[in-house]
C-alpha cells in the first residue's frame, strides 16, 4: 500500500521533472479545471472524464486539478450560477437551447442547469489560455525542479534512486 502511494507521488515528481511532456501536464491541468468546475452526476462530466482517459494527457495532473477545482467550484457556485443563468436566459439562444433539450441524450448533460452551464463556460474558456500559459512555464521550470528533486533525499526516493541503490537480493 505504501509502495503504491509512493509510486503515485513518484509519477507526479516525474511529471514535474521533465519525465513527462509539459504539454501533457498543462493540458491535464486545464482538463482537470474543466472537470472540476462542472457539477458531477451528468453526462457532460462523464464525457469529459472519458475524454481525459482517451486523450494522451497527464492523468495525475487531471486528478489533482479536478480535486482542487471541485472545491473551488463549490466556493464560487453563486458566481457560476449567475453566469449560467445569464447565458441560458439569452433570448436569441432560446430556440437553440430548446432544440437541444428536445434532442435525445442531450438533457442528460443537464446543460439547462445554471451551475452546469456556468461551470462549462468557465471551464471551456480557461482551457486554451491555461494550456498555452502553463506549457512554456512548465517547460522553463522543469530543469530546476529536476535538479532540486534529484538533490533532495525525498526527491531521490520518489524518483527511485534510493530504491535501486538499497535493493538487495538474498
Amino acid at each position: 500500500m505504501i509502495y503504491r502511494i509512493l509510486r503515485s507521488f513518484r509519477f507526479l515528481t516525474q511529471a514535474l521533472t521533465a519525465e513527462s511532456a509539459a504539454e501533457r501536464i498543462s493540458m491535464g491541468v486545464a482538463m482537470g479545471i474543466l472537470i472540476g468546475l462542472v457539477p458531477k452526476g451528468n453526462l457532460l462530466c462523464l464525457c469529459f472524464v472519458v475524454l481525459a482517459f482517451v486523450v494522451r494527457i497527464n492523468l495525475l495532473a487531471v486528478l489533482v486539478t479536478t480535486a482542487v477545482a471541485s472545491f473551488a467550484a463549490f466556493v464560487i457556485e453563486p458566481a457560476l450560477h449567475e453566469i449560467g443563468y445569464g447565458v441560458l436566459s439569452i433570448s436569441s439562444l432560446q430556440p437553440l437551447f430548446a432544440s437541444l433539450y428536445d434532442t435525445p441524450w442531450i438533457p442528460w448533460t443537464r446543460f439547462n442547469n445554471t451551475v452546469v452551464m456556468g461551470g462549462l463556460l468557465i471551464g471551456l474558456v480557461q482551457l486554451l489560455p491555461t494550456y498555452f500559459t502553463l506549457t512554456p512555464w512548465i517547460r522553463r521550470c522543469q530543469p530546476n525542479w529536476s535538479r532540486r528533486a534529484r538533490n533532495s533525499r525525498w526527491g531521490r526516493e520518489l524518483l527511485g534512486d534510493q530504491v535501486t541503490t538499497s535493493w538487495r537480493v538474498g
Binding site: A21, E23, M27, P39, V50, F53, V54, V55, R56, I57, E77, L80, H81, G84, Y85, L88, S89, S91, Q94, P95, F97, A98, Y101, D102, T103, P104, W105, I106, P107, W108, R110, N112, N113, T114, V115, V116, G118
Partner: protein, 585 residues
C-alpha cells in the same frame, strides 16, 4: 505534439470497456439503490427490494419481493408486492425523463406484519393521541360524576311542605308559652286583688278610693281574661288553618315531583364523544396520515423553474414543462388484511407524477375489492393548481366489525358485539383546509353498557344494565374541519343519546321513587310534629281555659265581696249601675 497514441488508447480503451461492463453489471444495484433512496425519502420508512432485474432491451424494470414499511407502525408493512413490473418509455428516458407507460403490481398485500422494525429512526410516541385519550377519559369521568351527583343529591330541604311546616309550626310553642304567661299573670293579679281586699277592713268608707281602684282592676282583669280567651280562640283557628295549609302543600310536593327533570346534565353528545371519540380519532388520524403521506408523495413544485440543491434547472421558452417522473398507468393486484381475513383487491393508479404541475393532470387512485367485503377507495390528488386539492372517498358497505369495548372498562363502557359495519368516508382538502364527513353504521349489534361499581353508586350501575336493551344499531356521523395538521371533528351518534336516555329513564324512575320516599318521610315527620303540637296545644289550651275560668270565677267572687262590704247589692257595683256613676261623682 501527437495527442492520440495507440499505446495509450488501447489500455485506456480497455479500461473504459471494463468500466462499461461493470456498469451494466451494476445497473441493477444502482437502480435498486435509487428506488430505495427515493421511496425512503418519501415514506421515512424502510424499503426492501430483494431482487431486481433490468432489461435494457425491453425497457423493463422488474422488482420482486418489494416491501415498504409503514412509517406509523414499525412492525407493519405499508405494502408488500411479489412483483412490480415497470415498462419505461425509452424515448423519454433518453431525454432524461422517466415515464412508466404501463406498470403492474402483482401480489400486492397491504398491512402485512414484519419481524423487524421498519422505522428508519426511533420516534417519540404521538403526544396528540395520548392527549386525546386523556381528554376522552376526563369526559367520561365528569359525565358519570355529574350523573351520580344528580342521583345522590338530596331533596328534603327543597320540599315545600317541610319548609312551610317549619315556618308555621316552629313559632307556636313560644306563642303558647306567651298565652300561658298571660294566664298566669291574670291568675296572679286575681290573688293579689283578693289579698288587698282582705286588708281593706270592714268599713268601706275608710278605703273608698281603694275600693274604687279594686273595682277598676277587676274591670281590667275581666278585659284581660276576655282578650286571652279570644287569643286562644284565634290561635286555635290559626293552628287548624296552618295544618290545612301544610297538608295542601304536601299534595303539591308530590305533584311537583312528577314534573321534575332531575337528569338534564346527562348530555348524550358528551357521552357519544367519550365512548366513540378514541375510535373515531384513530380512524380519522389514519385517513389523514394517508392524505399527508400522499401529499408528500405528490409534492407541488413552483412551476417553470425546478429548483435543485445546486443551481436552477431552467425550462426554455417554447418548451412545455414535463415531469421528470411520470407513471401514466399502473395496475394493482393483491391482497389486503381486513380485520382477520385476507381479501383480494385490484386497482389502478393513473398519472402519478413527481411534478404534478408539469404533468397537468391530477393523480387518481382507485382500489376495490370484489369479495364478500367490498371496499372502494377513490383518491384524487390534484396538485396542478396553486393549491393542492385532494379528495379521498372510502366506501366499505360490509366491513367485518369485530367485537370491541367502547369507552373505559374501568369507568363507563359499552361492549359492542361483532357485526358488519358500513363505513363511508369523504375527505376533501383545499390547500390545507380540511372538510369532510365520515359515517359509520353497524346494524344488528348488541350493545351492553357497563359501569364499574367502584366508580359510582349502585343505583347508576344497575340503571346502566338495561338502558340499551332496545338499541340494535350503532350510527356515527363525524364532520371534519380544521386543517390537515390540526384537524377538528364533531361527532354525532345515537349511542350517547340513547344510552343517556336509557339511563335517564331508569335513573329518573329510581330518582322519583327515592325522592317520593324522602317526601313521605318528611311528611311523616311533619305530621308527627303537627300531632305533637296539637297535643301540646290541646293540653295547654285546656290548662289556659281552666285557669281563665278559675280567674273569671275569682273575679266574680271578688266583685261580690266588694259589693257585700259596701252593703250594696251586686247591682250597685255593676259597671252599668247608675249608683256606681253616682259614687264616682
Amino acid at each position: 505534439m501527437r495527442m492520440f497514441s495507440w499505446r495509450y488508447w488501447v489500455p485506456r480503451g480497455t479500461l473504459l470497456v471494463l468500466a462499461a461492463v461493470f456498469l451494466v453489471m451494476a445497473i441493477n444495484p444502482l437502480i435498486r439503490s435509487a428506488i430505495v433512496d427515493n421511496v425512503q425519502a418519501i415514506t421515512y420508512s424502510k424499503v426492501d427490494i430483494p431482487r431486481i432485474h433490468t432489461s435494457l432491451r425491453d425497457n423493463q424494470i422488474t422488482l420482486a419481493g418489494m416491501t415498504v414499511a409503514d412509517p406509523h407502525h414499525p412492525l407493519r408493512n405499508l405494502f408488500e408486492a411479489d412483483l412490480v413490473e415497470l415498462e419505461v418509455d425509452r424515448d423519454a428516458l433518453l431525454k432524461r425523463r422517466v415515464i412508466v407507460k404501463r406498470g403492474r403490481v402483482r401480489g400486492l398485500r397491504l398491512g402485512t406484519e414484519r419481524t423487524k422494525s421498519g422505522l428508519l429512526s426511533e420516534r417519540q410516541a404521538l403526544d396528540y393521541q395520548r392527549n386525546l385519550n386523556d381528554h376522552f377519559h376526563r369526559l367520561g369521568t365528569e359525565w358519570l360524576k355529574q350523573t351520580d351527583d344528580c342521583l345522590q343529591s338530596g331533596l328534603t330541604n327543597e320540599i315545600e311542605s317541610v319548609t312551610l311546616a317549619k315556618t308555621l309550626l316552629d313559632p307556636l310553642p313560644a306563642n303558647y308559652a306567651q298565652l300561658e304567661q298571660q294566664t298566669s299573670q291574670i291568675q296572679s293579679d286575681v290573688k293579689d286583688l283578693q289579698q288587698q281586699l282582705q286588708k281593706f277592713g270592714d268599713n268601706p268608707l275608710r278605703n273608698l278610693a281603694s275600693y274604687q281602684q279594686a273595682i277598676d282592676r277587676l274591670d281590667a282583669l275581666g278585659r284581660n281574661i276576655f282578650e286571652v280567651r279570644s287569643h286562644v280562640d284565634r290561635t286555635n283557628e290559626q293552628f287548624k288553618m296552618d295544618v290545612a295549609n301544610i297538608q295542601a302543600t304536601t299534595e303539591k310536593d308530590l305533584q311537583m315531583l312528577q314534573q321534575l327533570q332531575p337528569l338534564n346534565t346527562m348530555h348524550g353528545g358528551t357521552l357519544s364523544e367519550y365512548l366513540l371519540g378514541p375510535e373515531i380519532a384513530q380512524r380519522t388520524e389514519e385517513i389523514l396520515q394517508w392524505v399527508r403521506w400522499s401529499r408528500r408523495f405528490a409534492p407541488s413544485f413552483s412551476g417553470r423553474q425546478l429548483t435543485n440543491s445546486s443551481g436552477t434547472d431552467l425550462v426554455f421558452r417554447g418548451l412545455t414543462p414535463k415531469p421528470p417522473i411520470l407513471i401514466e398507468s399502473m395496475v394493482l393486484q393483491g391482497q389486503a388484511l381486513l380485520g382477520d381475513q385476507l381479501v383480494d383487491l385490484e386497482g389502478a393508479i393513473r398519472n402519478l407524477s413527481s411534478d404534478p404541475k408539469a404533468a397537468g393532470v391530477p393523480t387518481e387512485v382507485v382500489i376495490q375489492t370484489a369479495t364478500d367485503t367490498p371496499i372502494l377507495v377513490q383518491a384524487f390528488f390534484d396538485a396542478t393548481g396553486e393549491f393542492s386539492q385532494d379528495r379521498v372517498i372510502v366506501d366499505c358497505p360490509r366491513t367485518p366489525g369485530p367485537s370491541r369495548v367502547l369507552g373505559d372498562a374501568n369507568q363507563l363502557a359499552v361492549s359492542v358485539s361483532s357485526s358488519p359495519v358500513h363505513l363511508w368516508i369523504d375527505v376533501t382538502l383545499d390547500g390545507d383546509i380540511l372538510t369532510g364527513e365520515m359515517r359509520l353504521k353497524q346494524e344488528g349489534v348488541t350493545l351492553v353498557p357497563q359501569i364499574n361499581p367502584e366508580f359510582c353508586s349502585t343505583d347508576l350501575c344497575s340503571a346502566a344494565g338495561s338502558s340499551l336493551s332496545e338499541t340494535d344499531t350503532l350510527d356515527v356521523a363525524v364532520n371534519l374541519s380544521g386543517t390537515l395538521m390540526t384537524p377538528k371533528w364533531t361527532l354525532q351518534s345515537n349511542l350517547g343519546p340513547q344510552l343517556a336516555e336509557g339511563l335517564r329513564d331508569e335513573v329518573h324512575t329510581q330518582w322519583i321513587a327515592k325522592h317520593r320516599r324522602a317526601i313521605e318521610q318528611a311528611h311523616q315527620v311533619v305530621n308527627q310534629k303537627i300531632q305533637e303540637i296539637d297535643s301540646m296545644w290541646t293540653a295547654k289550651q285546656q290548662s289556659i281555659l281552666a285557669t281563665l275560668q278559675a280567674g273569671s270565677a275569682d273575679v266574680e267572687l271578688v266583685r261580690q265581696e266588694i259589693a257585700t262590704r259596701v252593703e250594696h247589692t251586686h247591682g250597685m257595683v255593676d259597671p252599668k249601675s247608675p249608683l256606681r256613676k253616682t259614687m264616682r261623682r
